[in-house]
Every structure is written in structure tokens, then in C-alpha cells.
């Protein structure tokens, strides 16, 4: 299995502070059956901006270290790009990293809303043969309020990633519910752990999968994981047609 969203580089963003923590996260990943992990440190974020060079250097040394420790895991480069007006041009000029050198890029929306220029950036990226993946839409306030806002971005050609912790219930019931709703409506296409550390933002990769299993979404889970591995091989995703989102009826509020 591949994890396509993680903060495992130490001392660069809000991920692990020390090398030892990075290693313990990798060990945890191996114990949960993950064979490849894409490191996506924050970039162009108001607080954190990890440059391309640092990512490449640290990923190299982590890969070497994992080999020394006999950890059967491959670490790939990537960045979680905060959406800004100039994000698209950064990607064209190769100042930013795509996921595992594929055509997919991980975009992070501001947690409050969807900026007006989002669709413009999506189209710019697509016209340069780069496919944007929107990170954890279930944790965006505007989308959680009205999931059809995500549906609009998906129709314009974007993809989306659901976070393991959201499905596992780490961020609360309402986010868990939204996440499952997005999975059911085929509005999310890949699955990532978004791990930051082992205490407050743990790995939970299998816990999220267990939840999907318990809810009997076996086929959708398979598609999510298959799409994950297709990032590494730079193949096209399996896409299902988005379904109409069920309207929230007032008599279902308490269910």
C-alpha cells in the first residue's frame, strides 16, 4: 500500500521535530503494511515553506537510513502546496514538486473557504498536463458546509484526497460523517494519512481503512488504494462518476 500524504521530514514544518520521530513514524508505517510513502511537507503555507531542495535532500537521507535499518519502505518526494494566486506558475517553472515526480500535484485549500481563483488555477494546471489533487476537502469549512462546492471543483477536473484520520474519527464525528459522504459520492479519489507526529496527528492509516470496511465500502476502498499506487506509476486514475449529494432533510438532522 502507498500513503500519498505525510509530513515525515523532521524539523521543517509542523511534522516531527527530530530524526528519531521520523524513523518511528516510518516504522509505524511499515508495521501497518505501507510499502511506499510520499513525503508532502508544507510549501507556500503562511507559516511553513519547505523548499524543493530541502525535501529532495532529506528524502534521500531518509531513504538511505531506512535501507540501513532494513525498513522495507520507499520514500518519495512531494510537497503540499498551499493555494495562492501564483501557485500554478510555481509548478510550471518547476519551483514546486509534484507527487513522486508524476503529473499529480497536491494542493491545500485554506481551511476556511475556497478562494475565488481556485477554478482558474485548476484549469491552468490541467492545461499544462498537471492534475491537481485537493488535500483533505472534508476539513475545509466551506466544503463541509456544502459538499456540492467540492463537486464543482471535481467537474472542472480536480481530484481530491481523503484523510485517514478524518475517517477514523480523529477530528470528530461531523468530519467523519462528511468524509464518508464524500467517499460515497465518489468525490474523493485517493487516501492519505496526513501524519504529522505520533501523538496529536498520528498515522491511523489502517484505522481509517477499518472504518470503511466496517461501513462495507469495500469496493470504494479498493479503488482509493489502487489510485494511490497509480500515482507512483504515473497512470490515470480509476474515476467513478460523482453522484448527486443527498439533500440534508430536516427530519434527518437527529439521525
Amino acid at each position: 500500500m502507498i500513503d500519498m500524504h505525510s509530513h515525515i521530514l523532521h524539523g521543517v514544518d509542523d511534522g516531527p521535530a527530530k530524526m528519531e520521530e521520523s524513523i518511528s513514524l516510518l516504522k509505524q508505517a511499515v508495521s501497518e503494511g505501507v510499502t511506499g510513502i510520499i513525503s508532502t511537507s508544507h510549501a507556500y503555507h503562511p507559516q511553513f515553506d519547505v523548499s524543493k531542495e530541502i525535501v529532495i535532500k532529506q528524502v534521500q537521507s531518509l531513504n538511505a537510513l531506512a535501507k540501513d535499518l532494513n525498513l522495507p519502505i520507499q520514500i518519495y518526494t512531494g510537497q503540499e502546496l498551499r493555494l495562492k494566486e501564483n501557485t500554478a506558475s510555481e509548478i510550471f517553472t518547476d519551483a514546486a514538486l509534484t507527487l513522486a515526480d508524476s503529473k499529480y500535484v497536491l494542493l491545500e485549500l485554506p481551511s476556511q473557504g475556497i478562494p475565488a481563483y481556485t477554478i482558474q488555477i485548476i484549469q491552468d494546471l490541467l492545461s499544462h498536463n498537471k492534475i491537481p489533487i485537493i488535500a483533505h476537502p472534508e476539513r475545509n469549512k466551506a466544503i463541509a458546509e456544502k459538499p456540492s462546492r467540492l463537486a464543482r471543483l471535481i467537474t472542472h477536473g480536480a481530484l481530491a484526497q481523503v484523510t485517514a484520520g478524518s475517517l477514523a474519527g480523529h477530528f470528530g464525528r461531523s468530519i467523519q460523517k462528511t468524509a464518508l459522504q464524500l467517499v460515497d459520492a465518489h468525490l474523493v479519489h485517493v487516501y492519505g494519512s496526513d501524519v504529522h507526529n505520533s501523538s496529536t496527528r498520528p498515522f491511523l492509516f489502517n484505522k481509517g481503512l477499518d472504518f470503511l470496511d466496517k461501513q462495507k465500502r469495500h469496493e470504494l476502498t479498493d479503488i482509493l488504494l489502487e489510485n494511490n499506487s497509480r500515482i507512483i506509476t504515473n497512470q490515470d486514475f480509476i474515476l467513478l462518476e460523482p453522484e448527486e449529494l443527498e439533500k440534508q432533510n430536516w427530519w434527518k438532522i437527529f439521525s
Binding site: S127, E219, L240
Partner: protein, 233 residues
């Protein structure tokens, strides 16, 4: 631990003519094919448009299935997703929609770049591409006319999947460029008034309506006569 069963839906969800060619529904699509073939007996019908009055009446399903049915007859068919408001053809045929008709019409791509294989012989697809802000202008452009002319020399039949008539003007523009227009009507759902309004709008743009397809019709039990000959038990 998550289950590792590898059942991934490979078969197109809505393409019943491919999934189950012997079914009663596929047979009906073949009937529609025959009717279209005989509707214009004296000349060859090369461009065909599928539209409906309102959304969700089965335009894309009918267009895709008929494209497949015509292709299995041996015709070289190209299916074009001209619904640049809510494109769906790429889902039906499991393609990606990164490049398509909109790139072609804005002259950012060449014809050979946007034509995609459908994993069926004789059937090619042009998906919608990135959703443009001005679909009606693009569809009415000279580039569009040029594209149709170019395709006519290569393909026997060009099928367009268009947006609904009553919502947007795109279908009217396209129907004027096509030799035949088919109106899809959903049984028990389409209002009579909106169907006749749609027909009027199409006629006002000088469309040649060759017929209608009645979709979603529920057969009663006494309709055993309609069953596929030779498979009824």
C-alpha cells in the same frame, strides 16, 4: 486490516450494449439504430445529435450506447462529448478528461491529440476537456465547422452528446450543424409541454429532428411479445 480483494469495476457502468449485448435493452438500441438508418433513406446521415428537454433524461446513456451499437455494425464512429456544462462521457468509457473538445476549439490542441480510443473497435471518443467559460461561442465557432468537416472525411458517423435544450442554447447551435437530431424523452418524467417547447426551439434553429427515443419506459408483464426472440424461457 482492510480486505485486499481486487475487484475493480472495469466494465463501463452505463454501457449495457457492451456489458450485455443479448439483453432486451440492447436489442431496443439496435432497433433505434435500424430506425435511424431508415429515417433518411436517400442520403447518408453522417452527423447525429442527441439532446433532451431537461437534464437527466438519458441523453448521454443513449448517445454512448448507440455509438457502440453503430460501431458494432462495422461503421467507423466517433462520439463527441459536446455537453460542456456537465460532461459525463469520460466516466462511461473510463477515460481522463484532461484534454478534449474545448482544447480543440480554442486551438490549443490538434485533432489527432484529442481523439481517444474506446477499447472497442471502430469507436473513438472526444471527451469534453476542461470546462470553458463560453461553451456556446465555442460550439458556434468556425473551428467547430472545420472540425466536423475534417471528421466527416475519416468517420462514417459523428455522434454528439449535447446539453438539454431548455436550459442552454448549445443544443440549438449544434442541431443546426448536424444532419439529424434525436430528442430523448424520459417516460413519466418529461413534461409534455417542455418536450414540445424543446421541439419548437430545435425547429426554430432549422434542426432536422429525425425522431425521438422514449427512455425509462417500464414494460408491463403482458409485454412478453417484446422479449428477445430465442431467449425467452
Amino acid at each position: 486490516m482492510a480486505k485486499k480483494k481486487k475487484i475493480i469495476q472495469q466494465m463501463a457502468r452505463k454501457l449495457i450494449t457492451r456489458a450485455n449485448p443479448k439483453s432486451f435493452v440492447s436489442e431496443q438500441y439496435r432497433t433505434v439504430r435500424t430506425n435511424i438508418n431508415f429515417s433518411v433513406p436517400d442520403k447518408e446521415l453522417q452527423t447525429l445529435l442527441f439532446t433532451s428537454a431537461s437534464p437527466g433524461e438519458g441523453k448521454s446513456t443513449t448517445a454512448s450506447n448507440l455509438a457502440f451499437t453503430f460501431a458494432s455494425e462495422g461503421k467507423r464512429v466517433i462520439l463527441i462529448d459536446a455537453d460542456m456544462r456537465k460532461p459525463t462521457v469520460h466516466y462511461t468509457f473510463h477515460l481522463t478528461n484532461t484534454i478534449g473538445l474545448s482544447n480543440l476549439l480554442t486551438r490549443k490542441a490538434a485533432l489527432q491529440d484529442v481523439i481517444k480510443d474506446s477499447s472497442t473497435d471502430n469507436l473513438h471518443i472526444i471527451t469534453c476537456g476542461p470546462i470553458p467559460p463560453n461553451p456556446a461561442e465555442l460550439l458556434g465557432s468556425k473551428t467547430m465547422n472545420q472540425m466536423i468537416e475534417d471528421l466527416k472525411s475519416v468517420y462514417d458517423l459523428i455522434i454528439f452528446d449535447a446539453p438539454p435544450v431548455l436550459s442552454v442554447t448549445d443544443s440549438q447551435i449544434l442541431s443546426n450543424k448536424c444532419e439529424g437530431t434525436v430528442l430523448v424523452v424520459s417516460a413519466g418524467e418529461t413534461e409534455k409541454e417542455s418536450a414540445s417547447k424543446a421541439k419548437d426551439l430545435l425547429l426554430s434553429s432549422k434542426a432536422n429532428i429525425i425522431g425521438t427515443v422514449l427512455n425509462n419506459f417500464t414494460l408491463g408483464k403482458e409485454h412478453h411479445y417484446y422479449q428477445y426472440y430465442g431467449t425467452s424461457e
